[in-house]
Amino acid sequence: MASAVHLDGITKRFPGVVANDDVDLEVERGTVHALLGENGAGKTTLMNVLYGLYEPTSGEVRLDGEPQAFRSPRDAIDAGIGMIHQHFMLVDPMTVTENITLGNEPRKWGGLAVDRAGAREAVVELADRYGFDVDPDARIEDVSVGEQQRVEILKALYRGADVLILDEPTAVLTPQEVDELFDVLDELTAQGKTIIFITHKLGEAMRAADDITVLRDGEKVGAVDANATSQEELAELMVGREVLLDVDHGAADAGDVVAAVSDVVVEDDRDVRAVDGVSFEVRAGEVFGIAGVDGNGQSELVEAVTGLQEVDAGEIRFRGEDVTSTSRRERIDSGMAYIPEDRQERGLVMEFDLVENGLLGSQHGREFAPNGRIDWGDTRAHADAIIDEYDVRPPNADAEAHSLSGGNQQKFIVGREFERDPELVVASHPTRGVDVGSIEFIHERLLELRQQGVAILLVSSKLEEVQGLSDRLAVVYEGEFIDVVDPDETTEEELGLLMAGERPGDGDGGGGGFETASEAEPAPSTNADAADGEEA
């Protein structure tokens, strides 16, 4: 019998880039197939071809043996393909039902009106069939990320999808939500659906998939049976060489307290407490890590420390001084460097060249702009030095930031921030979306700074990163520190439970346990303080 999905020799070229080069992919009906590869390996492009968003430059798409010529997602949808994008394709102000039925609304009165009752009924019925827990009347912007993902899957099923493509479905989920997702996938395949999911996480691929296809640099480098492979084999296929992401950083030689955060509360735009009474200290020469699933207040906390977000309560001290309400500029000037999580929004001015970007944050400093007049000569020399020192490619200070790859953009930011001679470096997801080589480079540099006695506050959702680099590690959940641990003494599983909000000593709680945890025990901040004391 022919495969449910067969991509045959797909090549997709963009101007100057070959995103897919003669890639084959075969997926059996009723199985879960993982498409594994590093960022930039061409996984999403390949799936966009399957989904009709791109037409392949050459090659063929076959479903159940039938050649297909998709010209648009509509064709793909009609052929029974559904795609769950990494960034959900949901309309925030609309309800779950409206989103699921968007584009295929049941009509009444000869099409003059949407049959709203019918639509709701259909959604409820569909959710029941697959055992999904969704509220059909809730607005998307008000429901959890996990629920949004279920809505996406329901949307595809509503359109009669037999083949579901999931793009990095676990990136935004807690480990427990990931488990739930994989249960859902099992239920779907049991009912005859075919699943393809894109990931760069080896463990997930092995755990959830039946078969794995590995891409690297736009080429297919292997197709393996998930039950007959090893992490090492997959890693080597993915990266092309052996990788060691675990960094041995030696013992911390912590000095004086550089930054101290006490009982800080930050409210977001909707007056919801994003950071809810967090306290910690960062000392010279140590890396203080914060782990947690994205969206648990890390961003707000970091922006509060760096002066980009107003603090609603509590105090932030830097070098012994109260900086709680000082401006961003004052904090930069006093020696606080910040590698922002979103380099394209915050860290670089995309339309500026590197010379101008090298000045960002120092434009009022005496070094490059004495008396408010910018010395472009010095500024250029500075940019050249960063480019040289941090191996930014292409080594051209006149290149505009948007023309650089993500990794090189990040290296430039890291270089600029490190060259400030900071006393504190706040690094937020410093290696997100960066190639492996650059990751190693950035990690080394961070540890070098630590060795020089700089205090480092590191936030990352990559467990292996925070675990590997930090001297002390706090886990944040819903704006509170669940615990502060010694990363070397804590297992990944323990961290996972903490990240899911399960407090240490909460006893054995299953899936339902951690949901109640935060409500049951509303005295978090002392926790972190205590842990702080121990570590110091």
Binding site: Y54, S72, I77, V91, D92, M94, E105, G111, K155
Partner: protein
């Protein structure tokens, strides 16, 4: 899930609280004023109360509302779909002229009305092609639409009539609903120009389209998250073309109503449209993209305008030149109090798929 629903509720209150607060305060202030006016009919409050409760004020406000409200409805369609149509002013101008011109040539008011709508729709279609197909910046292209109409209508008038002002043509007249027209105050709603009724219809239809039809949802999705719509298999481009063209039709009705109500197009300076298209933008922003809300905020502005006209006659001690600018000052104050309006997420962005 109850938790999420609770959040939703909180979010809802949060989202509308400033507006609700403002609306509440306004209503309270008006009520207080009316009571004061009733108690002290000879005071300034009494004068104001009399003006506010006058059927004539309502009638004047309705007349002044028509072009603005039509344009505002058009603006909602375009902007909800993700295309900011700042050229509403231009659409009003071109349709105001087109309507009078064709009426003058054919002698048929309704023929002229349709012609005005067609002229505006054509210009809107040009705007759509320029912004959607050629991905021109919407703001700049909108300004260009305004400038082109601002030049073209008086130019044509000058060529045809040797004057920027057209001769007078017949007007629409008014339709009165028996019995209802005799209602106190609200009678003004039932003895008005046909364009007023058309406006009521347009407000209802717009509301219906957004709240009840699939197309309305597509427009919303196209403005909030075009990729969601695209991946759902609906062409964002088509939806946006349709929405911009509808905005042309609606603005066209506004412009035609404006000039045919007076039976003349005047093209000097900023023309007879004189900023009504821009005020329409204020109206729908303040009305939070809701057709009914836009209509009500238009009525607020037009009501102020009507009131200032009457107040001038009362001689209340404030210089006339200053009374005249009150509507503008009120808009500024309202905006400062209400603050940010929540634009559709993708408004102003270009969207392209590889189809």
């Amino acid at each position: 899930m109850s938790d999420a629903a609770g959040d939703g509720e909180g979010g809802f209150v949060e989202r509308y609280s400033t507006r609700a607060l403002f609306a509440g305060t306004t209503v309270a202030a008006v009520v207080a004023l009316l009571v004061a006016g009733l108690l002290f009919p000879d005071s300034l409050a009494g004068t104001l109360a009399a003006v506010l409760t006058s059927e004539n004020t309502l009638a004047a406000a309705l007349r002044l509302s028509v072009p603005i409200a039509f344009a505002a409805l058009g603006g909602i369609f375009a902007e909800k779909s993700g295309v900011i149509n700042i050229g509403l002013e231009g659409l009003l101008i071109i349709s105001a002229f087109g309507a009078v011109y064709v009426t003058e040539v054919t002698g048929g008011v309704w023929v002229g009305f349709v012609a005005g709508v067609v002229a505006s729709t054509l210009l809107a279609a040009l705007f759509a092609v320029v912004t959607i197909k050629f991905r021109a910046d919407q703001i700049i292209a909108g300004l260009a639409v305004w400038l082109i109409a601002l030049g073209l209508a008086p130019f044509a008038s000058q060529v045809i009539y040797n004057s920027p002002n057209t001769p007078t043509v017949q007007t629409m007249g008014s339709i009165a609903v028996p019995v209802l027209e005799d209602l106190p105050f609200f009678g003004a709603l039932f003895s008005a120009s046909p364009t007023v009724y058309l406006l009521f219809l347009a407000v209802f239809c717009s509301w219906y389209v957004f709240e009840r039809t699939a197309f309305g949802r597509w427009i919303r999705a196209s403005g909030e998250n075009p990729k969601a719509l695209d991946t759902a298999g609906v062409s964002v481009t088509h939806v946006r073309y349709a929405a911009v063209i509808i905005s042309g039709v609606l603005a066209g009705m506004g412009g035609a109503a404006l000039s045919l109500d007076l039976g003349q197009f005047t093209g000097n300076g900023p023309t007879m449209v004189n900023g009504k298209g821009f005020i329409a933008i204020v109206a729908y922003l303040f009305g939070n993209y809701n057709p009914v809300g836009a209509f009500l905020s238009t009525m607020l502005f037009a009501g102020l305008d009507a009131v200032q006209t009457v107040l001038q006659l009362q001689g209340i001690g404030v210089p006339r030149q200053l009374i005249r600018i009150t509507p503008f000052v009120v808009v500024i104050i309202v905006l400062a109090l209400v603050g940010r309006t929540q634009l559709p997420e993708a408004a102003g962005d270009h969207y392209e798929t590889e189809e």
